[in-house]
Amino acid sequence: MDLAFTQEEGAFRAEARSWLHAHVPSTPLPSLETEEGFAAHRAWEAELAADRWSVVDWPAAYGGRDCGLVRWLIFEEEYYAAAAPARVSQNGIHLLAPTLFAHGTEEQRARILPPMASGHTIWAQAWSEPAAGSDLASLTSRAVRTDGGWLLSGQKTWSSRAPFADRAFGLFRSEQHTAKPHQGLTYLMFDLRAPGVTVRPIARLDGKPAFAELFLDDVFVPDEDVIGEPGQGWHVAMSTAANERGLTLRSPGRFLAAADRLHQLWRTQGSPHAMRSRVADAVIGARAYQLFTYAAASRFLDGEPLGAEASLNKVFWSEYDIALHETALDLLGPEGELADTAWSEPYVFALAGPIYAGTNEIQRDIIAERLLGLPKGRR
């Protein structure tokens, strides 16, 4: 058991730090949930990609450095410590790409991954439907077989990044009347500007169009944009879901940096005693999350798959994130109400954490049933 990094890992950290120091914009980019900000964040992805920093853990053939999980963790620590921009390509690189690595064809990987890595193609997720949220398998959007592909119809919603993104991925019902609802689903990718697609942006709590409803009316998708076997979409998607909750969606670097900034804020506010415990808990929680992730990464490198443990992780970071930002707003006093401080948009973003990627109620059911062995019951 040890927490020491090798000399080579130290050199990698130094290289990342020095690149970020030279390239991270000195003033924050506009919010990525605006048209202007989305474009600025897309350009930042291209800048990262030009020097192979956008997807460091991917194979070199697709724009990565093939650097492995430990260096990815190191990169993320440096990335957020440098206050680098939010990743507009996150849905693609953390949700779709792992699915393509696990279930895609070589042709799909070669066609889809490099433009994802460069920010040329930005991906939105299209999981939820108006009547299928936590009960995702009850979805009703259809994929109907046609010559050379599929015709998609139905409605998706809460599709994050969709107002400005290029393409989307999601599950569609390709077989009716199956014995169980999660059978007969197919995992498909489609163009958000294809004929038959209507994107209606939805304003988040702060009014920004962070997600959208998608109306699909006989949208043609060629066979080459099916991932895995038709009808096996649930199985294909669950590997993505584990990634979303698990190691890759929220790296410890993000929270270590946020806790550092919170501690600095507390100090600049005169270290108010009444806030001491909450600030300490944020600092301790970031360390706990880092070490928990190091342990998970070590198990993963030993060949153990990420399983229901990812649900522990998801509940922890999503609740931690809100507590940290609430502490920051409280520290700001009357200014905490303002919507244009460095803490306000991250606070609004954090509020969604316990809802997306499988609500925390669903995660607690998974923990209770799969990790603790409690009997299934009514939800």
Binding site: L3, S277, V283, P375, R379
Partner: protein
């Protein structure tokens, strides 16, 4: 970086677990609470034979060298079985005996289990189980003293298996400048690990209970309200564990304080959940659950309150 216990460390935990399972600790604990220390002393010897105290003692004094990770592994198991006695205090005492003359005099017997040491933490006048301990230490303004013994009467703790005794004043001055910071760090690490084991035992017992207890015709463990409390207990313990072992690796006072507050709060929350989900039976002294419930409360305050530990974490930051 490989942040996992190695196979030898897992084997050490398993062997201690086997030893403690066979020891029927609930009856040992209940005897200890009544002032009958014989079973507790016999168990103490077996724990020493397994090498637990030697993990805080250098090799030249018959120890295994300072091995905080293995010590944490051991204390998780001691907590899991709610083993009574001044376990943490004996580890803290080992850390106080750094001067060669003191080390030579006290450590070989401590490692072998012949010394059951106790001392009062710096801010407390109470030493744990002074009536059972063989060596009583006082940290006074002029240094470390070998106290003449416990004063009477001992005061009861909320945990019946812990008795708090003031120590008699005076006694031989052992060292004018004992390494109190280091002793505190070892004591806090051991307490954190012990609390983690206490919390795990509370969770395991409660999971077993809600699987078999039926109401409305089904196990109460099938109800979402019950499941979610246990899921939260699991989350808190699983995020305390890496702090405990991370602290054992660095032994920095801030890391150890973070582990102490987090493990103790997770264990205490586990106790609250365990009590609630057991219902009235859990509120009885007769139910063995009480042996862990009351210990979780006691450990939370022992060797540094949650707020003291948080202060250490923040004070260490630039």
């Amino acid at each position: 970086m490989r942040f996992l216990l190695d196979p030898e460390q897992h084997a050490f935990a398993a062997s201690l677990n086997g030893l403690l399972t066979a020891a029927d600790t609930p009856s040992v604990i209940r005897d200890w609470s009544r002032g009958d220390h014989s079973g507790g002393r016999a168990l103490w010897s077996r724990i020493a034979e397994a090498g637990v105290f030697a993990l805080a003692v250098p090799e030249e004094y018959d120890g295994l060298g300072a091995r905080p990770v293995e010590l944490a592994v051991a204390f998780v198991e001691l907590g899991r079985y709610a083993v009574p006695g001044p376990l943490v205090e004996t580890v803290a005492a080992a850390a106080l005996f750094t001067e060669p003359a003191l080390a030579k005099r006290f450590l070989p017997s401590l490692a072998a289990g012949g010394t059951m040491a106790t001392l009062a933490p710096m801010d407390s006048q109470y030493a744990l189980d002074g009536d059972a301990a063989t060596t009583h230490l006082s940290l006074t303004p002029d240094g470390l003293r070998l106290a003449p013994g416990p004063a009477t009467p001992a005061r009861p703790s909320l945990d019946p298996a812990r008795r708090l005794t003031p120590l008699l004043p005076g006694g031989e001055l052992l060292s004018p400048t004992p390494p109190t910071e280091q002793a505190l760090t070892w004591a806090r690490l051991a307490t954190a690990a012990q609390a983690l084991g206490v919390g795990e035992a509370l969770l395991d017992r409660t999971v077993a209970y809600v699987r078999q207890r039926t109401q409305f015709g089904v196990p109460i463990g099938s109800f979402q309200a019950v499941k979610h409390r246990l899921a939260d207990t699991k989350i808190a313990l699983e995020f305390a564990r890496p702090l405990v072992f991370g602290a054992a690796l660095t032994m920095s006072p801030a890391d150890v304080a973070a582990a102490k507050v987090t493990a103790c709060e997770a264990a205490y929350a586990a106790a609250r959940t365990a009590l609630q989900l057991h219902g009235a039976i859990g509120y009885t002294a007769e139910c063995d659950l009480s042996l862990w419930l009351t210990k979780a409360r006691a450990l939370r305050g022992a060797w540094g309150s949650p707020d003291e530990c948080r202060d250490v974490v923040l004070s260490a930051r630039a």
